[in-house]
Amino acid sequence: MADYTQAETGGTLQRPEGLRGIAADLSSDQRAFKNVSWGKAMMWIFLLSDTFVFGCFLLAYMTARMSTPVDWPNPSEVFALHIGGQELPLILIAIMTFVLISSSGTMAMAVNFGYRRERGRTAALMLLTAVLGATFVGMQAFEWTKLISEGVRPWENPWGAAQFGSSFFMITGFHGTHVTFGVIFLLIVARKVWRGDFDTQRRGFFTSRKGDYEIVEIMGLYWHFVDLVWVFIFAFFYLW
Protein backbone atom coordinates (compact mmCIF):
# COMPACT_ATOMS: atom_id res chain seq x y z
CA MET A 1 0.00 0.00 0.00
CA ALA A 2 3.06 2.27 0.01
CA ASP A 3 2.61 5.43 -1.97
CA TYR A 4 5.32 6.54 -4.37
CA THR A 5 6.22 9.91 -5.79
CA GLN A 6 8.24 11.03 -8.78
CA ALA A 7 11.61 12.44 -7.73
CA GLU A 8 13.32 15.24 -9.63
CA THR A 9 15.91 12.81 -10.89
CA GLY A 10 13.23 10.75 -12.57
CA GLY A 11 13.40 7.94 -10.03
CA THR A 12 10.72 7.22 -7.49
CA LEU A 13 10.83 7.91 -3.79
CA GLN A 14 8.68 6.24 -1.22
CA ARG A 15 6.31 8.66 0.46
CA PRO A 16 6.39 8.42 4.24
CA GLU A 17 3.29 7.37 6.16
CA GLY A 18 1.98 8.45 9.58
CA LEU A 19 3.04 11.67 11.30
CA ARG A 20 6.12 11.93 9.10
CA GLY A 21 3.76 11.65 6.17
CA ILE A 22 1.74 14.62 7.44
CA ALA A 23 4.89 16.71 7.77
CA ALA A 24 6.08 15.63 4.32
CA ASP A 25 2.69 16.33 2.70
CA LEU A 26 2.23 19.77 4.22
CA SER A 27 5.82 20.95 3.87
CA SER A 28 6.62 19.70 0.40
CA ASP A 29 5.98 23.09 -1.24
CA GLN A 30 3.48 21.40 -3.54
CA ARG A 31 -0.17 20.63 -3.06
CA ALA A 32 -1.03 18.86 0.19
CA PHE A 33 -2.81 15.49 0.67
CA LYS A 34 -0.71 13.88 -2.04
CA ASN A 35 -2.72 11.07 -3.57
CA VAL A 36 -6.04 12.74 -2.84
CA SER A 37 -7.55 14.33 -5.93
CA TRP A 38 -8.66 17.95 -5.98
CA GLY A 39 -12.29 16.98 -6.34
CA LYS A 40 -12.23 14.80 -3.27
CA ALA A 41 -10.26 17.26 -1.14
CA MET A 42 -12.63 20.09 -2.10
CA MET A 43 -15.69 18.01 -1.25
CA TRP A 44 -14.18 17.22 2.14
CA ILE A 45 -13.48 20.90 2.78
CA PHE A 46 -17.03 21.80 1.75
CA LEU A 47 -18.32 19.13 4.13
CA LEU A 48 -16.15 20.54 6.92
CA SER A 49 -17.77 23.95 6.40
CA ASP A 50 -21.18 22.29 6.39
CA THR A 51 -20.24 20.56 9.64
CA PHE A 52 -19.76 23.97 11.22
CA VAL A 53 -23.11 25.21 9.91
CA PHE A 54 -24.96 22.19 11.30
CA GLY A 55 -22.85 22.40 14.45
CA CYS A 56 -23.98 25.99 15.01
CA PHE A 57 -27.63 25.06 14.43
CA LEU A 58 -27.44 22.25 16.97
CA LEU A 59 -25.59 24.52 19.40
CA ALA A 60 -28.21 27.25 19.04
CA TYR A 61 -30.93 24.68 19.68
CA MET A 62 -29.06 23.29 22.69
CA THR A 63 -28.61 26.77 24.15
CA ALA A 64 -32.28 27.67 23.57
CA ARG A 65 -33.44 24.45 25.18
CA MET A 66 -31.16 24.75 28.19
CA SER A 67 -31.95 28.40 28.84
CA THR A 68 -35.74 28.31 28.78
CA PRO A 69 -37.63 27.93 32.05
CA VAL A 70 -40.69 26.62 30.16
CA ASP A 71 -41.01 22.83 29.73
CA TRP A 72 -39.60 21.42 26.52
CA PRO A 73 -42.06 19.22 24.58
CA ASN A 74 -41.28 15.51 24.90
CA PRO A 75 -40.09 14.46 21.40
CA SER A 76 -40.88 10.85 22.21
CA GLU A 77 -44.59 11.76 22.41
CA VAL A 78 -44.59 14.51 19.79
CA PHE A 79 -43.28 12.14 17.13
CA ALA A 80 -45.29 9.11 18.21
CA LEU A 81 -47.73 7.52 15.78
CA HIS A 82 -50.91 5.51 16.30
CA ILE A 83 -50.38 2.23 14.51
CA GLY A 84 -52.89 -0.58 14.98
CA GLY A 85 -54.51 1.17 17.92
CA GLN A 86 -51.18 1.42 19.70
CA GLU A 87 -49.13 4.53 20.49
CA LEU A 88 -45.58 3.88 19.29
CA PRO A 89 -43.07 6.46 20.54
CA LEU A 90 -40.80 8.08 17.96
CA ILE A 91 -41.58 5.38 15.40
CA LEU A 92 -41.68 7.70 12.39
CA ILE A 93 -38.19 9.02 13.15
CA ALA A 94 -36.88 5.49 13.64
CA ILE A 95 -38.19 4.44 10.22
CA MET A 96 -36.71 7.57 8.64
CA THR A 97 -33.38 6.67 10.23
CA PHE A 98 -33.47 3.17 8.79
CA VAL A 99 -34.38 4.49 5.34
CA LEU A 100 -31.47 6.94 5.37
CA ILE A 101 -28.99 4.32 6.61
CA SER A 102 -30.10 1.97 3.86
CA SER A 103 -29.56 4.70 1.29
CA SER A 104 -26.03 5.12 2.67
CA GLY A 105 -25.47 1.40 2.25
CA THR A 106 -26.61 1.36 -1.37
CA MET A 107 -24.50 4.46 -2.08
CA ALA A 108 -21.35 2.85 -0.66
CA MET A 109 -21.95 -0.16 -2.90
CA ALA A 110 -22.54 2.11 -5.90
CA VAL A 111 -19.08 3.64 -5.35
CA ASN A 112 -17.57 0.18 -5.26
CA PHE A 113 -19.22 -0.93 -8.50
CA GLY A 114 -18.29 2.40 -10.08
CA TYR A 115 -14.61 1.71 -9.56
CA ARG A 116 -15.19 -1.75 -11.05
CA ARG A 117 -16.64 -0.06 -14.13
CA GLU A 118 -19.95 -1.88 -13.79
CA ARG A 119 -22.09 0.88 -15.25
CA GLY A 120 -25.48 -0.78 -14.93
CA ARG A 121 -25.12 -1.78 -11.32
CA THR A 122 -23.64 1.58 -10.33
CA ALA A 123 -26.46 3.54 -11.95
CA ALA A 124 -29.09 1.20 -10.51
CA LEU A 125 -27.68 1.48 -6.98
CA MET A 126 -27.48 5.27 -7.28
CA LEU A 127 -31.08 5.32 -8.47
CA LEU A 128 -32.09 3.19 -5.50
CA THR A 129 -30.21 5.61 -3.23
CA ALA A 130 -32.13 8.52 -4.78
CA VAL A 131 -35.45 6.70 -4.29
CA LEU A 132 -34.65 6.05 -0.62
CA GLY A 133 -33.62 9.70 -0.23
CA ALA A 134 -36.87 10.85 -1.80
CA THR A 135 -38.75 8.50 0.53
CA PHE A 136 -37.02 10.15 3.46
CA VAL A 137 -38.00 13.63 2.26
CA GLY A 138 -41.56 12.39 1.72
CA MET A 139 -41.75 11.13 5.29
CA GLN A 140 -40.35 14.43 6.49
CA ALA A 141 -43.06 16.26 4.55
CA PHE A 142 -45.62 14.04 6.29
CA GLU A 143 -44.03 14.83 9.66
CA TRP A 144 -44.07 18.58 8.99
CA THR A 145 -47.68 18.45 7.79
CA LYS A 146 -48.74 16.57 10.91
CA LEU A 147 -46.99 18.99 13.25
CA ILE A 148 -48.24 22.08 11.43
CA SER A 149 -51.80 20.77 11.59
CA GLU A 150 -51.30 20.25 15.33
CA GLY A 151 -50.43 23.92 15.67
CA VAL A 152 -46.62 23.90 15.72
CA ARG A 153 -45.18 27.17 14.39
CA PRO A 154 -41.68 28.66 14.50
CA TRP A 155 -42.94 30.91 17.29
CA GLU A 156 -45.26 28.58 19.24
CA ASN A 157 -46.43 25.04 19.88
CA PRO A 158 -49.19 23.52 21.99
CA TRP A 159 -46.89 21.64 24.36
CA GLY A 160 -44.58 24.21 25.92
CA ALA A 161 -41.41 26.07 25.00
CA ALA A 162 -41.93 28.11 21.83
CA GLN A 163 -38.29 27.55 20.84
CA PHE A 164 -39.18 23.95 20.01
CA GLY A 165 -40.92 25.07 16.81
CA SER A 166 -38.12 27.27 15.51
CA SER A 167 -35.44 24.67 16.34
CA PHE A 168 -37.45 21.89 14.72
CA PHE A 169 -38.18 23.69 11.47
CA MET A 170 -34.69 25.13 11.17
CA ILE A 171 -32.73 21.95 11.82
CA THR A 172 -34.89 19.40 10.03
CA GLY A 173 -35.60 21.88 7.24
CA PHE A 174 -31.93 22.51 6.56
CA HIS A 175 -31.21 18.78 6.65
CA GLY A 176 -34.17 18.02 4.38
CA THR A 177 -32.88 20.61 1.91
CA HIS A 178 -29.54 18.83 1.86
CA VAL A 179 -31.26 15.51 1.18
CA THR A 180 -33.33 17.06 -1.61
CA PHE A 181 -30.27 18.52 -3.34
CA GLY A 182 -28.52 15.19 -2.85
CA VAL A 183 -31.34 13.36 -4.64
CA ILE A 184 -31.14 15.79 -7.58
CA PHE A 185 -27.37 15.38 -7.89
CA LEU A 186 -27.66 11.61 -7.52
CA LEU A 187 -30.03 11.52 -10.47
CA ILE A 188 -27.70 13.68 -12.56
CA VAL A 189 -24.63 11.56 -11.80
CA ALA A 190 -26.58 8.30 -12.20
CA ARG A 191 -27.62 9.44 -15.68
CA LYS A 192 -24.01 10.22 -16.59
CA VAL A 193 -22.89 6.79 -15.36
CA TRP A 194 -25.73 5.03 -17.16
CA ARG A 195 -24.95 6.83 -20.43
CA GLY A 196 -21.29 5.87 -20.09
CA ASP A 197 -19.94 9.44 -19.95
CA PHE A 198 -16.94 8.32 -17.93
CA ASP A 199 -16.04 5.61 -20.43
CA THR A 200 -16.49 7.71 -23.58
CA GLN A 201 -14.84 10.80 -22.07
CA ARG A 202 -17.92 12.84 -22.87
CA ARG A 203 -17.60 16.39 -21.56
CA GLY A 204 -19.90 17.69 -18.84
CA PHE A 205 -22.69 20.08 -19.84
CA PHE A 206 -21.73 22.63 -17.19
CA THR A 207 -17.96 22.43 -16.77
CA SER A 208 -17.04 21.08 -20.23
CA ARG A 209 -14.61 18.76 -18.48
CA LYS A 210 -14.19 15.04 -18.81
CA GLY A 211 -15.27 13.28 -15.66
CA ASP A 212 -14.31 9.92 -14.28
CA TYR A 213 -15.77 7.36 -11.93
CA GLU A 214 -14.31 9.19 -8.95
CA ILE A 215 -17.28 11.57 -9.18
CA VAL A 216 -19.40 8.69 -7.86
CA GLU A 217 -17.21 8.53 -4.76
CA ILE A 218 -17.32 12.33 -4.34
CA MET A 219 -21.10 12.24 -4.69
CA GLY A 220 -21.06 9.43 -2.12
CA LEU A 221 -19.10 11.56 0.35
CA TYR A 222 -21.87 14.18 0.21
CA TRP A 223 -24.56 11.55 0.61
CA HIS A 224 -22.90 9.83 3.57
CA PHE A 225 -22.44 13.24 5.17
CA VAL A 226 -26.19 13.84 5.00
CA ASP A 227 -26.66 10.49 6.76
CA LEU A 228 -23.95 11.44 9.26
CA VAL A 229 -25.69 14.71 10.15
CA TRP A 230 -28.91 12.77 10.71
CA VAL A 231 -27.11 10.59 13.27
CA PHE A 232 -26.44 13.74 15.32
CA ILE A 233 -29.92 15.19 14.80
CA PHE A 234 -31.44 11.85 15.82
CA ALA A 235 -29.40 11.82 19.04
CA PHE A 236 -29.63 15.47 20.03
CA PHE A 237 -33.04 16.53 18.80
CA TYR A 238 -35.19 13.41 18.96
CA LEU A 239 -33.63 11.32 21.73
CA TRP A 240 -32.61 14.11 24.11
Binding site: M1, A2, D3, E17, G18, L19, G21, I22, D25, L26, A32, F33, K34, V36, A41, W44, L47, L48, T51, F52, G55, L59, M62, T63, M66, S67, T68, P69, V70, S76, P89, L90, A94, T97, F98, I101, S102, S104, G105, A108, M109, V111, N112, Y115, R116, Y213, E214, E217, G220, H224, F225, D227, L228, V231, F232, F234, A235, Y238, L239, W240
Partner: protein, 110 residues
Protein backbone atom coordinates in the same frame (compact mmCIF):
# COMPACT_ATOMS: atom_id res chain seq x y z
CA UNK B 1 -3.31 -4.65 -5.58
CA UNK B 2 -0.94 -1.70 -5.89
CA UNK B 3 -1.68 -1.52 -9.59
CA UNK B 4 -5.41 -1.80 -9.02
CA UNK B 5 -5.21 0.91 -6.39
CA UNK B 6 -3.80 3.52 -8.76
CA UNK B 7 -6.53 2.96 -11.31
CA UNK B 8 -9.56 2.31 -9.20
CA UNK B 9 -9.36 4.48 -6.08
CA UNK B 10 -11.21 3.25 -3.01
CA UNK B 11 -11.90 -0.43 -3.64
CA UNK B 12 -13.11 -2.55 -0.77
CA UNK B 13 -15.09 -5.78 -0.57
CA UNK B 14 -18.88 -5.34 -0.77
CA UNK B 15 -19.04 -7.66 2.25
CA UNK B 16 -17.46 -4.93 4.38
CA UNK B 17 -20.11 -2.41 3.36
CA UNK B 18 -22.88 -4.91 4.09
CA UNK B 19 -21.36 -5.56 7.52
CA UNK B 20 -21.25 -1.84 8.34
CA UNK B 21 -24.79 -1.40 7.01
CA UNK B 22 -25.94 -4.17 9.35
CA UNK B 23 -24.06 -2.68 12.30
CA UNK B 24 -25.63 0.73 11.66
CA UNK B 25 -29.06 -0.92 11.69
CA UNK B 26 -28.33 -2.66 14.97
CA UNK B 27 -26.94 0.50 16.60
CA UNK B 28 -29.93 2.56 15.43
CA UNK B 29 -32.25 -0.07 16.86
CA UNK B 30 -30.43 0.18 20.20
CA UNK B 31 -30.76 3.98 20.09
CA UNK B 32 -34.47 3.61 19.45
CA UNK B 33 -34.84 1.10 22.27
CA UNK B 34 -33.29 3.59 24.70
CA UNK B 35 -36.30 5.79 23.98
CA UNK B 36 -38.79 2.92 23.76
CA UNK B 37 -37.90 1.68 27.24
CA UNK B 38 -37.78 5.32 28.44
CA UNK B 39 -34.35 5.07 30.05
CA UNK B 40 -33.68 8.39 31.81
CA UNK B 41 -30.88 10.31 33.48
CA UNK B 42 -27.18 9.73 32.93
CA UNK B 43 -27.76 6.23 31.54
CA UNK B 44 -29.82 7.75 28.73
CA UNK B 45 -27.14 10.32 27.94
CA UNK B 46 -24.38 7.75 28.00
CA UNK B 47 -26.23 5.30 25.73
CA UNK B 48 -27.41 7.93 23.25
CA UNK B 49 -23.95 9.45 22.85
CA UNK B 50 -22.25 6.05 22.79
CA UNK B 51 -24.40 4.74 19.93
CA UNK B 52 -24.15 8.11 18.15
CA UNK B 53 -20.35 8.13 18.23
CA UNK B 54 -20.14 4.50 17.07
CA UNK B 55 -22.50 5.17 14.16
CA UNK B 56 -20.74 8.38 13.15
CA UNK B 57 -17.38 6.61 13.36
CA UNK B 58 -18.50 3.74 11.14
CA UNK B 59 -19.95 6.08 8.52
CA UNK B 60 -16.88 8.32 8.38
CA UNK B 61 -14.29 5.53 8.57
CA UNK B 62 -15.77 2.99 6.19
CA UNK B 63 -18.50 4.57 4.04
CA UNK B 64 -16.52 7.78 3.56
CA UNK B 65 -13.21 5.84 3.33
CA UNK B 66 -11.53 8.03 5.94
CA UNK B 67 -9.74 4.98 7.34
CA UNK B 68 -7.77 4.68 4.09
CA UNK B 69 -7.06 8.34 3.36
CA UNK B 70 -3.75 10.09 3.90
CA UNK B 71 -3.25 11.10 7.51
CA UNK B 72 -2.75 14.77 6.57
CA UNK B 73 -6.30 14.86 5.16
CA UNK B 74 -7.74 12.89 8.09
CA UNK B 75 -6.32 15.37 10.60
CA UNK B 76 -7.28 18.42 8.52
CA UNK B 77 -10.90 17.26 8.48
CA UNK B 78 -11.37 15.62 11.89
CA UNK B 79 -9.49 17.96 14.23
CA UNK B 80 -11.47 21.20 13.56
CA UNK B 81 -14.89 19.71 14.49
CA UNK B 82 -13.41 18.46 17.77
CA UNK B 83 -12.72 22.10 18.64
CA UNK B 84 -16.47 22.71 18.41
CA UNK B 85 -16.61 21.03 21.84
CA UNK B 86 -15.01 24.18 23.27
CA UNK B 87 -17.90 26.16 21.77
CA UNK B 88 -20.32 23.67 23.34
CA UNK B 89 -18.77 24.21 26.77
CA UNK B 90 -19.04 28.01 26.36
CA UNK B 91 -22.69 27.79 25.33
CA UNK B 92 -23.58 25.47 28.23
CA UNK B 93 -22.12 28.00 30.61
CA UNK B 94 -23.95 30.83 28.81
CA UNK B 95 -27.33 29.08 28.85
CA UNK B 96 -26.95 28.20 32.53
CA UNK B 97 -26.40 31.89 33.23
CA UNK B 98 -29.39 32.90 31.08
CA UNK B 99 -31.78 30.53 32.82
CA UNK B 100 -30.44 31.67 36.18
CA UNK B 101 -31.18 35.33 35.39
CA UNK B 102 -34.60 34.48 33.99
CA UNK B 103 -35.61 32.51 37.06
CA UNK B 104 -34.19 35.12 39.41
CA UNK B 105 -35.31 38.40 37.85
CA UNK B 106 -38.19 37.61 35.52
CA UNK B 107 -41.65 37.07 36.97
CA UNK B 108 -43.19 35.99 33.64
CA UNK B 109 -42.23 32.69 32.08
CA UNK B 110 -40.13 33.34 28.97
Amino acid sequence: MAQAQTHSGQQHPVKLYLLVWGLLFVLSTFSYLVDYFAIQGYARWFLILFFMVLKAGLIVAVFMHMAWERLALVYAILVPPVLVLVFVAMMVSESNYTIFTRLTFSSVGL
